[in-house]
């Protein structure tokens, strides 16, 4: 309003000009903005409810796609899990048909040589002195292993001290076949189900299953006492016996082919023949026995070199399962 405005002052009975102070301007502006704000809120509410911005449309469509396909894939994944479960049952079933025993739980199977750290979950617990604790456990393991080896008699220990080096080279100390993965030990020493009779009978050695032609090695230095071929479908088949002295004889049976002769001197690790399935055997394997002073003993205690403590523990577990021997 360009024109000057006046108000009538009833006290002075005069017309006075209307002065607009800054305060008035500010108040008016504030009022205006408040109204604008309320309108803005109104616009926002209406828009939010009934309209979508382009960006919102894009986001919504993307999410819908992701959700749709995720749901489909999730269902597929459930199917796959089901298939895996069935597969596991079939796997176990074949194992049972062959060994007449439940398969190795996968915790032992997959914890392979040097693979998973046995004390991994201790590490994950964020213990403060975890290094010390794990050290202790490892030392305990070593001690336990050593205790097993202390089944020697006092005389033997004297003997050992006197003929230390000779004895160390001669006494059986390795596995007769290459078993780095530790998966080949199929059946241990003790009462096992006979594959043909289906009754428990004493299995006097270890069975190492391996394909025909796998090399077999002497497990200690000695002299070949027997190297015999047999065409019968029963018994030990083609077999080798090695006399190591100190009362120890090792026997290797069901061989495909023998590569040593009676009377031959061998060292630990020398090739003596190849894995087969001759004699009373239901699958190619090396049947390995240790005869001490005429008595058959558990060879598992004589696997000392080339295995870590973890690997040895795994071998012990494998050997102690009461399953079916291979022959």
């Amino acid at each position: 309003m360009a024109r000057i405005k006046y108000i009538y002052n009833t006290e002075t009975c005069q017309y006075e000009r209307v002065s607009i102070s800054a305060w008035d301007v500010a108040l008016n502006l504030l009022g205006f903005l408040t109204v604008a704000l309320m309108i803005a809120i109104g616009i926002l509410l209406v828009f939010n409810r009934y309209f979508e911005s382009p960006k919102e449309i894009v986001l919504r469509k993307e999410n819908e796609e992701l959700k749709l396909h995720y749901d489909i894939l999730d269902r597929e994944m459930t199917d796959v899990q089901e298939m895996l479960h069935n597969l596991k049952e079939r796997d176990d079933n074949v194992y049972r048909l062959i060994f007449e025993a439940d398969p190795i739980p996968s915790s032992i199977r997959t914890a392979g040589a040097g693979g998973s750290n046995k004390y991994k979950d201790l590490l994950n617990k964020d213990l403060i002195q975890e290094d010390l604790i794990i050290d202790d456990f490892n030392r305990l393991d070593k001690l336990k292993r050593q205790m097993y080896i202390q089944t020697k008699s006092y005389d033997e220990i004297i003997d050992l001290a006197l003929h230390k080096e000779e004895m160390l080279a001669a006494i059986p100390a390795i596995q007769p076949i290459n078993n780095k993965e530790l998966t080949r030990l199929a059946s241990g020493f003790g009462l096992r189900i006979h594959p043909i009779y289906k009754i428990k009978k004493m299995h006097t050695g270890l069975d190492f299953s391996a394909p025909r032609g796998t090399p077999i090695y002497a497990t200690g230095a000695g002299k070949v006492k027997k190297a015999q071929n047999s065409y019968r479908k029963t018994g030990y088949g083609n077999q080798v016996e090695i006399d190591h002295g100190f009362g120890y004889v090792t026997k290797y049976a069901h061989m495909q082919m023998i590569t040593v002769k009676k009377g031959q001197e061998v060292k630990r690790g020398d090739l003596i023949g190849y894995v087969g399935s001759t004699g009373g055997s239901t699958a190619p394997h090396c049947h390995y026995e240790i005869i001490k002073d005429g008595k058959k003993i558990d060879p598992i205690q004589y696997i000392i070199q080339d295995v870590t403590d973890e690997e040895y523990q795994k071998l012990l577990d494998l050997a102690s399962r009461e399953n079916q021997s291979l022959g």
């Binding site: 309108i39 796609e65 895996l84 074949v94 062959i98 043909i196 029963t234």
Partner: protein, 327 residues
Amino acid sequence: MSLTKYQYNEDSCTYEAIEPTLAQRFRRGLMYFLGATIVATIGVLAVFKYFPTPKEIAYNAERHLLNEQWAYLSIEENNIISALQAMQVDDEELREILELDSLSLQIRNAGIGGSEILSNEEIKKLIFKNQVVEQYKKIAKLKAQLSIQALSFDTLTKYAEDRNWNWSHIPAIQPVSHKELHRLSTVYGMRLNPVLKRYMPHRGFDFMADRGDSIYATADGKIIMARMTMGGFGNQIMIDHGNGYKTRYGHLQRGNAFAVKEGDEVKRGQLIGFMGSTGRSAGPHLHYEVIKNGKQVNPIGYFQVELNPEAYEKMLLLAKENAAPMD
């Protein structure tokens, strides 16, 4: 503005009150709101150019969740792949033991096509084409590999079952207990018949023990004969093992000879009858025959290890003594 305002009319030199008409007031109000609205709109647009709308915030939160779910799909897949690989290793080992060829890589990777779940048109319309298609491909691959592994296990199962069936249905043990056996005649072929006093073929083994001693089935099968016969075998049992093999047990005792009847299914080691001397026989013994595809064969090839190799050797020593046959 409650106070009346006045204008100074220069023409009439008086102060005139300003009284805006309703129309004028309305127009003023409208302009005010219009102004406020414009300001509001500009304000809203400006603000949401830089800040996310409520819907956007919601969609973003949803997206975050969806991304995590998709990431989890990958983790699940990796777990499944590990489990599948473990089973493929099992498959290899079991094949080794069963002496079957291992599955070639070609076979393992067969049947891995593209993602058949989505059609090409659907794929073209996808926003996250690569991500979605890749996941479908991965799942399809997993399913294919699992199917192949399942087929392989089925093959192994059938093979192991057949193998077990074959072993349990081939004569493999002595029909008379080692403990009760007095003498054993393993003369197979022409010999002097003690009753008829002339040379005739003897097509079985004679197990000599006491009258009434137990006789056992030497393999799983079905009893096809368990009665008195007139041909010289007296009370005899015949078992059909279903694989071309039959076994015959002759000269069972006079009264109460049979522990089974015709049609019975028996298992290896099951008691089937009692030793006697019926028919053409010079004394209590069991005449035992192994018949393959209708023709008698030498039973010597059908004895697996009884208790241990030494016992078997002993049995052969007994056989070497060459007791004269009793029929």
